[in-house]
């Protein structure tokens, strides 16, 4: 499917294969087309050409597909209604009735136990994220689409949200999770798709991606960068070059880096700072999306 906004080609022939019962990560820099793709899957945006098929069925443009639920960007609700009333309304729009017990159970599952009677206007951003997940689960979807679900959550909330997402997949639901946090994707997803400029730059398992990943990058500052650079020459498993912000950019796995640092000490070069600038997957993500500078 193709989608343009004016002269900008937001999506260009994207095909996603998501294994049922798994959490599939959707990654990409800003403007890669992630949000447009999610909106298209939810029936909010019509493709200019091509068709969208989800769960084996063609998505009728501008109509929410059966068996699919979720939220894109931040979920929104009527602030002057309670959480219970908002969920009642949404259940009605799915032809269901949301009993108080059902809503209470759902709210407890997403970490909002006892908040059903509260007006949404008093909810924090993170609480709205949780309510968004509850609203999606109310639809009992086979495919759950979540756009940055951990946004606005505190560390404990992020941990709980990730655990819940994994639990949902274990229950047999398929989750398509869009995130800009590589760490989140690494923790939760089995498969991943990386979008770049509206096209698929990588599609496959996270393990396969790791196999292709270069060594992690570090920023090294020493007492003598020239000597440190010379010490790296001829060493296996380490790449050193001048860093654009001064010092040296070093790519190496942990063991090779340890050996290199010991060698520097032996050569009388003092290490003044060492910081990991990106993980292996981030390196690959940046390379795949052409953002590695």
């Amino acid at each position: 499917m193709v989608k343009r906004f004016g002269a900008v080609r937001a999506l260009d022939t994207v095909e996603l294969r998501v294994t049922p019962g798994t959490v599939h990560g959707l990654l990409g820099p800003n403007g890669a087309g992630k949000t447009t793709l999610l909106r298209m899957l939810l029936g909010l945006v019509r493709p200019d050409s091509g068709t969208v098929r989800v769960l084996g069925e063609r998505v009728v443009p501008h109509r929410a597909p059966t068996g699919v639920a979720g939220f894109v960007e931040s979920p929104r609700f009527y602030p002057y209604l309670s959480a219970q009333a908002n969920l009642d309304l949404l259940a009605g729009l799915d032809g269901r009735h949301a009993s108080v017990d059902t809503v209470d159970e759902l709210l407890a599952r997403v970490g909002l136990a006892g908040r059903g009677a509260d007006q949404v206007s008093g909810f924090s951003f993170g609480m709205r994220q949780r309510l968004g997940l509850a609203a999606a689960l109310l639809r009992e979807p086979r495919l759950l689409i979540l756009d940055e679900p951990a946004n606005g959550l505190d560390p404990a909330g992020m941990r709980d949200m990730r655990a819940l997402v994994r639990e949902l997949a274990e229950d047999g639901r398929t989750v398509l999770l869009s995130s800009h946090l590589m760490a989140e994707v690494e923790q939760v997803c089995q498969d991943v798709t990386i979008l770049s400029a509206g096209s698929v730059a990588y599609h496959g398992t996270l393990d396969a991606l790791r196999d292709r990943a270069p060594a992690p990058a570090h920023h090294l500052r020493t007492s003598d960068d020239a000597a440190a650079g010379a010490a790296a020459r001829g060493r296996v498993g380490i790449e050193v070059e001048p860093h654009r912000h001064g010092g040296l950019a070093v790519r190496a796995e942990t063991a090779d880096l340890d050996d290199y640092l010991l060698a520097l000490a032996g050569a009388g070069v003092t290490v003044r700072a060492l910081a990991q600038t990106s993980t292996s997957l981030e390196q690959l993500f940046l390379a795949a999306t052409g953002e590695d500078g």
Binding site: T36, L44, H62, R63, A64, F77, G92, A135
Partner: protein
């Protein structure tokens, strides 16, 4: 249809939860009583207004004076307060994506909201009609009303004719509601959805005062607010009522049709 009715029920709940709607309904109920109280305190009468000269003689003149005044100046605004915002409110709250990712299609959402705006319009006009009739009759009495041909109309008949007069403005009122809904969808902005139909109503009113535009005048929605005059003549005539109903239906269908197409074709890329 089931989804449209569900949404309709929820729209009504949402409307009744809003202070603005409660305030407008409060005005509809209380304003006629305040108007009658003010009339009792002074000798002058609004003689320039149709039936204005009889306001001290019979309570049946009160609802007709209120009807003339409301349709000339206030009705498009009071209708647009809800109809002009009912779609744009979803843009303001960012809730389109919440509504449209459920099983109910866009047609059902549109129908539910249009029905709710129509219900508000009918209830508002009904409240104002009943309140002004009650205020007039209770405070000023139910003496016969002097008709436009000078004949006297007895209390029972006058009650029926007054209510019929108010009912006759409903098609045009619904036409304005449809125009406000179209503005709400097209501009995605609540204030614009309220102000534009109000200004259109005032401009139509001004245009109707200009000589030389008589054929055009009959095409204005505001002209239909006068279709009830024929009820109060010795030889009653109903042709303006028929014309009004047809013209209002045309406004209603074209505004709702365009509004539906705009909503149906819209890509929700924001919010």
């Amino acid at each position: 249809m089931r989804y449209a009715l569900t949404l309709y029920r929820w729209e009504l709940e949402k409307l009744t939860a809003q202070w603005r709607v409660r305030a407008v309904f409060g005005v509809a109920v209380l304003a006629p009583w305040l108007f009658v109280a003010a009339l009792r305190l002074q000798d002058a009468v609004p003689a320039d207004t149709l039936f204005g000269r009889w306001v001290h003689l019979t309570g049946f003149a009160t609802p007709l004076v209120v009807l003339v005044f409301t349709t000339q100046y206030a009705l498009p605004l009071l209708i647009s307060l809800v109809a002009g915002d009912i779609f744009a409110a979803e843009d303001r709250y960012g809730t389109w994506k919440t509504l449209l990712t459920r099983s109910a299609g866009r047609g059902a959402v549109f129908a539910g909201k249009a029905l709710a705006a129509g219900t508000y319009t009918v209830v508002f006009v009904g409240l104002l009609a009943c309140s002004s009739l009650a205020a007039g009759v209770v405070v000023l009495g139910h003496q016969p009303l002097v008709g436009l041909s000078g004949t006297l109309i007895g209390g029972g008949a006058a009650t029926g004719l007054v209510l019929a007069a108010w009912a006759s403005v409903l098609p045009a009122a619904l036409g304005f509601a449809a125009l406000a809904m179209l503005c709400s969808i097209a501009t995605r902005n609540g204030p614009a959805g309220i102000i534009i139909p109000t200004m259109v109503g005032l401009l139509m009113q001004l245009a109707s005062f200009v000589n030389g535009v008589d054929p055009l005048r009959h095409l204005l929605l505001t002209a239909n607010f006068e279709a009830w005059h024929g009820f109060f003549t010795a030889d009653r005539y109903y042709q303006p009522l028929v014309t009004s109903a047809v013209l209002s239906a045309m406004y209603l269908m074209s505004c709702l049709g365009i509004g539906y197409l705009l909503l149906h074709r819209r890509d929700f890329t924001e919010g």
